[in-house]
């Protein structure tokens, strides 16, 4: 199947928002999505973007059942390893179910890698849910390794009230 991989633009935010919700549903967490199309426009396409996007698009005659031509995306941003320097973090990678198995996911990830390498990054990091076996297999096939398993690193989060209290110095 024919498809193109390109940088996301402001006009893509509507479809990105749609697909973010689809991905959240797949991860059984759609009630946790608070970000709107407008937030994405502001946060990703202003002078200092907090993220960058890549879109996978198919030609008109291959549109999805509901009529969508934008069928996959990846959201990424640059981070920093105090050990190795510049790194790229792939926050989201998603392809609509009816377009899977055609190399689109691999192509999106390849694009993020290219951009990362061009920016001087030496690693690509991302997280996967431990029950997501098909994704885990896909990533392991690309040559990545599980930092949590191998080095025992756990992702921690401080948010909401806890973050506010921490800011005020309460203990």
């Amino acid at each position: 199947m024919d498809f193109t991989i390109r940088a996301a633009t402001l006009e893509d935010c509507k479809d990105i928002s749609r697909m973010i919700l689809e991905l959240a549903e797949y991860e059984k967490a759609s009630d946790q999505v608070k970000i709107t199309q407008r937030d994405l426009e502001q946060d990703g396409f202003s002078k200092n973007p907090f993220f960058h996007g890549i879109i996978a698009e198919v030609p008109e005659h291959h549109k999805s059942r509901e009529g969508h031509a934008k069928v996959g995306y990846s959201l990424y941003f640059y981070t920093y390893s105090s050990w190795k320097g510049r790194a790229v973090y792939m926050e989201d990678l998603y392809v609509m179910p009816e377009f899977r198995g055609k190399g689109i996911g691999k192509a999106l990830m390849s694009k993020v890698s290219q951009l990362g390498l061009a920016a001087g990054c030496t690693q690509l990091n991302f997280t996967v849910l431990d029950w997501n076996k098909s994704s885990l297999d896909f990533y392991l096939k690309q040559g990545c390794w599980d930092v949590t398993s191998d080095l025992g690193y756990h992702c921690m989060r401080c948010e909401g009230d806890a973050l506010e209290h921490l800011a005020q110095g309460d203990l």
């Binding site: 967490a29 946060d43 690693q123 949590t148 025992g152 989060r157 506010e164 921490l166």
Partner: protein
Amino acid sequence: MANFILRKAEPKDVSDILRLIKELAKFEEMEEQVVLTEKELLEDGFGDHPFYHCVVAEVPKDKQSIEGYTVVGFAMYYFTYDPWTGKLLYLEDFYVMKEFRGYGIGSEILKMLSETAVKARCSGMHFIVAEWNTSSIEFYKRRGASDLSHEEGWRLYEIDKRNLLKMTSK
């Protein structure tokens, strides 16, 4: 000794920052993994588009460390994005030299970072901790941190440069 200041790191601090990065890596038994140089820290942190931000803790000259250092702690962070909740502050490194612990320096650094996060309208602060590092885990849990790997099953993955290159050529 409770005399210390916290300030934004400046280009002149890169040598101390690298020293402290290596000390923390040594504590994590990963010292040989640090390949970052002072030159890269300078370029990446103090150019037009910094890849990271840094705060340092400094003591007066008369309170310097045994080897004569006055920069005794640091935190390295940057902003990331969660497509569900928005901006986040990611804490990459956070360390206070052993001889300066127990004086509230770590707490003050964390407080400053949280203020930065709240001011920048971040929905949270993320970081990783090694599961064997129980004293740090306790420090963070006391401040309301939750373990996402444990509670939600998130696992951190990495693809190194060699495999990145392989992917781009496929």
